[in-house]
């Protein structure tokens, strides 16, 4: 049984060399709709090394989910792609479903946001785990069942033998997400997409699930792309963070570097919208005013500019290019007046002044 498990792991170790696993170059995904072309992902470039975890952060509508589905090739038929996605040296963008099917579940796996609706409600847990084992590894009968049980044990599900014959509705949300992870892990993939894996879960369960994903990543030398709207989620569980806004990559840096020297006002706003433990209770959370941009007619200039408190005329006119930060060569951002620049500080002082006045006014009422 464990021999079986090892063989799948060895297989995945042998299949893909260490080093760069995924190279995404100038990737665009547009959707043809009745309103027009929706530019969901618009020129994204990044690469990911084997065994590393990348966090993709952004509000809803920023294109982060579409980005992961584009890389995996799981898009509806009205999507149009351009650019390049190289997986283990091979171009995978534009492959049809028939060709991609050999990668799905075997090399690339995906965990979805809502474990309540992502498992087939009418199929036993065991059968759902055994399905990829059968498709990709040809495992059947006893061997498949034992491997499935072993997988459940690895994702720390108590009484795995019993679970195999249960249906999803008999399990809690956290347990179901563990089952999803077991399914995703079944054939020892080299790349795991976790699309908001904890959004639908209890806070206490969230940490366990993230810990489990991290554990699987280390054990299997697997790369992870963790898609989330919550900077707090990615902080402790990724090596690098990419921030997306309006279909574009606006800042990318190693996790530690990003939290230490974030450059984009947008990243900073995301940061500020996380509640902090040391804030006094009933502190108003800072929200980002306005709505994400219309992806059919994206604003001219910096896409965040209309909502940015630090935007100036230039931001509304010219689109900032991705530039390397002075703090680290791995840190890139797209902003004319990044955090820390003289223009930013000047505006920040003004804003802080208004906020303070506002508080005083509130106090006298």
């Amino acid at each position: 049984m464990s021999g079986q498990q090892h063989s799948t792991q060895l297989q995945s170790d042998g299949r893909v060399p260490d080093g760069t696993l995924l190279e995404v170059t100038d990737l665009t995904t547009h959707f043809r709709t009745e309103r027009g072309l929706v530019r969901a992902v618009d020129g994204v470039t990044f690469s990911l090394a084997r065994g590393k975890a990348l966090g993709v952060v952004g509000e809803s509508g920023s294109g982060k989910t579409v980005l992961s589905r584009t890389i995996m090739g799981l898009l509806p038929s009205n999507a149009v792609n351009s650019g390049s996605v190289r997986f283990a040296g091979q171009e995978v963008l534009g492959l049809d479903a028939k060709q991609m099917r050999h990668l799905w579940g075997r090399e690339m796996s995906m965990i979805f946001q809502n474990p309540m609706v992502s498992l087939n409600p009418l199929m036993k847990i065991g059968k759902q785990i055994q399905e990829p084992l059968h498709i990709h590894l040809g495992l059947d009968g006893r061997a498949a069942r034992e491997t499935a049980e072993q997988l459940l044990r690895e994702v720390h599900i108590p009484e795995p033998t019993k679970r195999l014959d249960q249906y999803p509705h008999e399990l809690s949300g956290g347990m179901r997400q563990r089952v999803m992870i077991a399914i995703a892990m079944a054939c020892g993939p080299t790349l795991l997409f976790a699309d908001e894996p904890t959004t639908a879960l209890d806070v206490t369960v969230q940490a366990q699930i993230l810990e489990l994903i991290g554990e699987q990543r280390r054990e299997r030398n697997m790369s992870v792309i963790l898609v989330t709207h919550d900077l707090g989620v990615v902080a402790g569980h990724t090596d690098e963070i990419a921030v997306m806004y309006g279909g574009r990559l606006v800042e990318k840096a190693p996790t530690r570097e990003l939290f230490a020297n974030m450059k984009m006002p947008y990243t900073k706003s995301l940061m500020r919208s996380i509640p902090k433990l040391d804030d006094p209770s009933h502190t108003r959370l800072l929200t980002i005013p306005g709505r994400p941009p219309d992806l059919v007619n994206p604003p001219k200039g910096c896409r965040f500019a209309p909502r940015c408190a630090y935007a100036r005329d230039k931001c509304l006119q010219e689109e900032p290019p991705l530039v390397t930060a002075d703090t680290s060569p791995d840190h890139v951002y797209a902003c004319w007046y990044p955090v820390g620049s003289p223009e930013f500080r000047e505006r920040d002082a003004e804003i802080m002044a208004t906020i303070t006045t506002g508080v005083e006014l509130g106090g006298t009422r």
């Binding site: 995996m72 799981l74 479903a97 028939k98 099917r101 050999h102 990668l103 799905w104 579940g105 075997r106 690339m108 796996s109 995906m110 979805f112 946001q113 809502n114 609706v117 992502s118 498992l119 087939n120 409600p121 009418l122 199929m123 399905e131 990829p132 498709i135 990709h136 249906y167 509705h169 999803m180 399914i183 079944a186």
Partner: protein, 400 residues
């Protein structure tokens, strides 16, 4: 266990309610005596005017003494008026009431009653003593002198013991049970064949259509389903009969009850297909829509991400969760078709329950009507329970 007891109790209540309503309706519709005895009145034509040929009339409501004759008879089904003229003779023993009269006018000693008399009502116009004896015998035999609730209970007691009573329109012979025994298996065979064909057509068709949702082929198939649904049953039946039985000669034109079972099944093929095609089109609509909805579920995306191929996505993941509305309508159809295939039965000359009930209603043979209504109601109850069982087999979440 408790659940099934409840279900059974509900089913019995439903059957009782259906039987009561039908029993009541049949009594409003006509007088059972008419069916048993035929036109009893007719007796002496005192005025020498029109006779009550073919229709006997029974009156309700107080009538003064006198004897009556039917002046203007009811001779068609639509024509529901009759004029009774009292000739001032003797009071007929049974003409104590007149039903649904619109007007009563008195001229001298004669009373003219103009009323909406329903065909089949009995008027005893000074019957001969022998006829009176017949009437009394019939009344006693069929409890017709008893009040309605008593008659209902005695009918029910016989019915649950398997005695469905006599056929009124055939002077009581052969009993209704024999008629049902002859017709029911034929109707069931037709129903099973039709539903099987409809399912065999609808499932692959809807899978194919859902896989190609909103592509040109799917649109063509949608138009086709609407065409089949909109086509009246008799038109479809006649077309199929003309093409496959008359022109091509692949199937016999009519049904022959004397042939072997195998031949009968062969003869039932076209009638079954006539029922199956519109049913399949309806099932295809339901299944296709549900399949398309299911295909948008996250677990389908999950299955794709596991590497499951298109065929297995449809067959193993999407089909089962999409079956519910199909099964519901399939069940309702089963109940409705068991006694409702009249048109098809007529076109292909298949004497089934559908034609039996219509014939029985036309001649007010209400033991036959009641028996068939009860069979259809019972079928509905059985099918409903079967559907619940199937639901729980398909979806573990509704299991108890």
């Amino acid at each position: 266990m408790n659940y099934w007891l409840q279900r059974a109790g509900m089913a019995v209540l439903l059957l009782l309610a259906v039987s009561m309503l039908t029993f009541g309706a049949m009594n409003i519709l006509g007088d059972p005596l008419f069916n048993i005895l035929g036109p009893v009145s007719g007796a002496k034509d005192l005025q020498g005017t029109a006779q009550a040929d073919g229709y006997a009339l029974r009156t309700q409501g107080e009538i003064p003494s006198g004897s009556y004759t039917i002046v203007d008879d009811v001779d068609t089904l639509d024509h529901r008026e009759a004029v009774l003229v009292a000739t001032g003779d003797t009071l007929p023993k049974r003409a104590d009431t007149i039903a649904g009269l619109d007007a009563v006018s008195a001229t001298g000693t004669d009373i003219t009653i103009i009323g909406g008399v329903v065909p089949g009502q009995l008027v005893m116009n000074g019957p001969e003593p022998s006829q009176l004896a017949d009437v009394e015998a019939a009344e006693q035999e069929f409890y017709l002198d008893q009040p309605l609730p008593v008659r209902y209970v005695s009918w029910l007691t016989d019915f649950v013991q398997g005695d469905m009573g006599p056929q009124f329109s055939k002077t009581g012979e052969p009993p209704v049970t024999d008629l049902i025994k002859e017709r029911l298996p034929r109707s069931l065979a037709l129903l099973v064949m039709a539903q099987l064909m409809a399912t065999i057509i609808a499932i692959p068709w809807s899978l194919w259509s859902a896989a190609k949702a909103n592509q040109p082929v799917d649109r063509v198939s949608t138009v086709t389903t609407f065409l089949i649904i909109a086509l009246p049953n008799f038109a479809l039946g006649v077309i199929l009969k003309y093409v496959f039985a008359i022109q091509l000669g692949w199937f016999p034109q009519t049904f022959n009850a004397g042939d072997s079972y195998l031949e009968q099944i062969y003869q039932l093929f076209l009638p079954a297909l006539t029922i199956a095609l519109p049913a399949a089109a309806v099932y295809q609509r339901l299944l296709r829509t549900d399949l398309i909805t299911t295909l948008q579920e996250d677990f389908i995306l999950m299955a794709r991400a596991k590497g499951v191929d298109r065929r297995n996505i449809l067959m193993k993941h999407a089909l089962r969760p999409s079956l519910f509305s199909f099964i519901t309508v399939f069940g309702i159809n089963t109940g409705a078709l068991i006694g409702g295939a009249l048109v098809v039965e007529n076109i292909f000359r298949v004497p089934g329950l559908g034609s039996a009930i219509v014939e029985a209603v036309l001649v007010e043979d209400f033991p036959v009507v009641l028996a068939i209504v009860m069979i259809v109601a019972f079928a509905f109850v059985l099918v409903n329970i079967a559907i619940d069982v199937i639901y729980s087999l398909i979806d573990p979440r509704v299991r108890r």
